[in-house]
Structure formats: structure tokens, C-alpha cells
């Protein structure tokens, strides 16, 4: 994963969180859908930045891999993203 070291990692935990995040993410950023945020994966629409979902949380909630722009990642990849970005923000 090529990552901009000045980028922000957005962790989205809910549908409302996605709305807040969508208006505030910038090119180079990443979005990861976590916990109940994975429910938004199927109707996420166009986003200006790459979007992932935490496979473990999706599996727990019976959310199938939505395909399209949202790609599943595991916890190790999430840790790698947190290390590769300058900061993270949680949208609950």
C-alpha cells in the first residue's frame, strides 16, 4: 500500500460517522469501516479516497464482501495503515 505520510486515517464506526467523514476527507487519506460502520459498505457510493472495511467486523455482522470500491483488510493491515499515516480520527 503506497501511503502519503501526511495523510489522515479515518475510522468510521456508524452511518452518521460516514456522513461526517465524507465531508472532511482529503486526497491521500484512507477510510476504514469498523464495527457497525461496516453496515454502510454496500451503499457507500463515490468517495474521493480509498475505502476499506475490517473483514473481522464485517464477518461478525454477516456483511458480505461488498466488492466495488470497498476492499476488505485484516487487523494487521489496519495496524500498517495507522503506522503509515500521520494521524487518525474516529467517527462514531
Amino acid at each position: 500500500m503506497a501511503v502519503d505520510p501526511t495523510a489522515t486515517l479515518h475510522l468510521v464506526f456508524s452511518s452518521e460517522g460516514l456522513t461526517q467523514c465524507r465531508a472532511r476527507c482529503a486526497a491521500g487519506d484512507f477510510i476504514v469501516l469498523c464495527e457497525n460502520g461496516v453496515y454502510t459498505a454496500g451503499r457507500i457510493g463515490d468517495l474521493p479516497v480509498p475505502c476499506h472495511l475490517l473483514a473481522e467486523d464485517a464477518a461478525q455482522r454477516g456483511v458480505d464482501d461488498p466488492g466495488g470500491p470497498v476492499t476488505p483488510i485484516d487487523r494487521t493491515q489496519l495496524v500498517a495503515l495507522t503506522l503509515a499515516t500521520a494521524r487518525s480520527v474516529s467517527w462514531r
Binding site: 489522515t8 465531508a23 472532511r24 482529503a26 480520527v89 474516529s90 467517527w91
Partner: protein, 119 residues
């Protein structure tokens, strides 16, 4: 090394103690001379309304605690302009003066932070 800290308030008042705890954390950061900024967005802007009848609720609103921000050296207090407008909150009705930011300006604010903490 002074790492810039941004505290994000996005929950309505009286719902739980998250926002109060977040404010405590912000005051601690400021007391340790860390560059500290607050941003109110979404329903969080309702925290900026005066506490009208505190005794009617067991929960504590944050309005009174917000008054001490300048004493802790927290001068950068921002609010989402869109959230204020959606809730028809005029600047004069808020307990302290805040700087309005649109979402794009908030993105720029994020980019200047080392740490972002939300409730």
C-alpha cells in the same frame, strides 16, 4: 516536542459523560502546555448553548466548564458553520465565541494536527 492536539466534540449534551470527559482531557492537555484546539461539529455544537435549567437533569451540561477555557490557555475553539446553521444557532446565543469553519477548512485543520481525539 509539542504535539498539536485536536479534540472533536460531536455528541449532543446530556446524552452521556463522553463530552465532559473529553473536555477534561483537553484541559489536561492544555495544562501541560500542549497546543490544544477544540472543534464542535454535528450535534456537538449544541454543547455550546447555555445551560438553562441544570437542576432538571441529573446529567451535567458542559456550558459552565467551557467558561474556563481561556484560563487554561485554550483560545482556538472552532465550530462547524454548517452544523450551526442547520440548527439555527446564532453566534450571540452561544456561551463562548467560536470560529466558524466549513468542512474543507476542517480538513485543513486536521492536517495541522499530530493527534485527534474524539468522544
Amino acid at each position: 516536542m509539542s504535539r498539536a492536539h485536536l479534540f472533536l466534540f460531536d455528541e449532543a449534551p446530556l446524552r452521556n459523560v463522553h463530552a465532559l470527559e473529553l473536555l477534561d482531557a483537553a484541559l489536561v492537555a492544555a495544562a501541560f502546555d500542549l497546543p490544544t484546539t477544540l472543534l464542535f461539529l454535528g450535534d456537538g455544537v449544541l454543547q455550546l448553548l447555555p445551560e438553562v435549567s441544570p437542576n432538571l437533569s441529573q446529567e451535567k451540561a458542559m456550558a459552565r466548564q467551557l467558561a474556563v477555557l481561556p484560563e487554561y490557555g485554550i483560545e482556538q475553539v472552532y465550530a462547524c458553520g454548517r452544523a450551526l446553521d442547520e440548527r439555527q444557532l446564532a453566534a450571540a446565543s452561544l456561551v463562548l465565541s467560536v470560529i466558524r469553519l466549513d468542512p474543507a477548512e476542517q480538513t485543513a485543520l486536521f492536517a495541522r494536527q499530530d493527534v485527534i481525539i474524539g468522544s
